[in-house]
Symmetry: C2
Subunit: 279 residues, 2 copies
């Protein structure tokens, strides 16, 4: 495997969701929790073969990215956009604070360019807990619960690439294996319905797989074949990670073939606005 051909196609891939991660609490050491779960499950990791996919939500929880909507001060611009979109003005305020630009709005929809670079609906803010308050869920009380009545929402992690690197390093230290780490989130899409997993943080795993130099079956150079490797790994992992009461936020992907890349980052997956015909 030469450095100019850092990835080869797997023939067999296995995805396993770790079932016994505790519910992550603000302040938790997520790299240690992930390593502990790998340990408990007896997972043996192969460098340059395996990758770990972690849903952004647990990273957000560990970073205490909860925001109590009653604590939000609404700007005139957020007020105006909330009226246009029929959304909670406090949520709109947070979306604007998380965004570098607004892409599209419609009733019920605000699509922005997130400060992390990618384009997503609602700046990736998780509202699934808006309907209740954390203090009501006594069985899963979190430090955030003690601080007020919400409703609460959950922002995306501060630095998913950095967190992916920290998890990669922790795994390398604990298991002497160099495996890629992907922080995933669910993205809606223009043109197509339904969400798909996508990578918002990457370490070690080459985010793009450039097959342009490869030959096709007839010995001619292939065109248009830069694959979004990290996004496809995130989408595959979403099939086993699930959501809600079946959520299993850590997925081991086994059987890839790649040369670990210290410079990998999720920004490489973002199309620059001036190259985007739909910006």
């Amino acid at each position: 495997m030469s450095s100019s051909d850092p990835i080869r196609c797997a023939e067999r891939l296995e995805l396993v969701a770790l079932g016994d991660l505790p519910i992550v609490q603000p302040g938790d050491d997520l790299p240690a929790l992930v390593c502990d779960a790998l340990d408990r499950n007896g997972v043996r990791l192969d460098s340059g073969r395996d990758a770990i996919v972690i849903t952004s939500k647990v990273l957000s929880r560990a970073e205490d990215r909860f925001v109590d909507l009653t604590s939000v001060t609404v700007s005139p611009r957020a007020q105006e956009l909330a009226a246009q979109t029929h959304k909670d003005a406090r949520l709109v305020q947070l979306i604007l604070e998380e965004a570098s630009a607004v892409s599209r709005t419609a009733p019920g929809v605000i699509i922005v360019r997130h400060r992390l670079g990618f384009v997503s609906a609602n700046a990736g803010i998780d509202e699934s807990n808006v309907r209740g308050t954390y203090v009501e869920s006594a069985s899963t009380a979190t430090p955030a619960d003690a601080r007020g009545h919400g409703p609460w929402v959950l922002l995306l992690p501060r630095d998913p690439d950095g967190s992916a690197r920290a998890i990669r390093n922790a795994i390398r230290t604990r298991f002497a294996a160099d495996v890629g780490v992907v922080i995933s989130d669910s993205f809606g899409r223009p043109f197509r319905l339904g969400t798909v997993g996508a990578a918002i943080g990457v370490a070690g795993l080459p985010p793009l797989w450039d097959q342009r130099g490869a030959l096709d079956l007839h010995g001619r150079t292939l065109q248009h074949t830069i694959t979004a490797l990290a996004d496809q790994v995130a989408a595959a992992a979403d099939l086993v990670a699930g959501q809600g009461d079946e959520g299993r936020p850590v997925v081991v992907v086994r059987g890839l073939r790649y040369t670990p890349d210290d410079d990998a980052n999720a920004g490489a997956l973002v199309r620059a606005p001036d190259q985007d015909l739909y910006a």
Copy 2:
């Protein structure tokens, strides 16, 4: 498993690319070839658990969707668009014939709504053989080779949903197993770089997985959680199907959990233009 909860999340998924499919030739009976390959590989299929993903390219080959560019009559509109985009006017003509509407154009890029409903670059026409002619590749001569010097391109299949159904039926007859079938193609994306596998034909497998009624970890109703199941299965399969000289166009996905759906079709994944903020 009730009919109102037709899909449960897998905990473990396995993807295996069948390695020994012969190069598909125009006129080949693809359902029979797929069944033969499953047979040779000793694959035992589980109803409602497994799915088969097939890249559209082999379906196009079986349907003889090759077009010799020298045979194409170029319209004034294609001529004009070719001048604007610096593309081969004959290819542009075919793109327009395959499209119901043009979405965006730029130098080197024509994005259209395909007659099959989805939005894609170049109407999904495969140009990877444009640079040579089929007659040159003696080792893999096809019936198309004998008919002229090209250059040749390959259009998408005529009716991927219908072909998926035919393959599902052939598998059901041969193996007494009811498994979903996905016809996949590689799609570029607005906002993000790199291609991902997506479903352009579906049979049996529910294309969308609606988790809206499910409860989150705190017992509240989940929002925004309709997953593009068939697209994620296609993206996962792309990780092992590969392209070019490593291409393995038939992938078995094992370990899903779904109730087979006779009404499944890939159109369910397409956002209607009037619901699309980027149309």
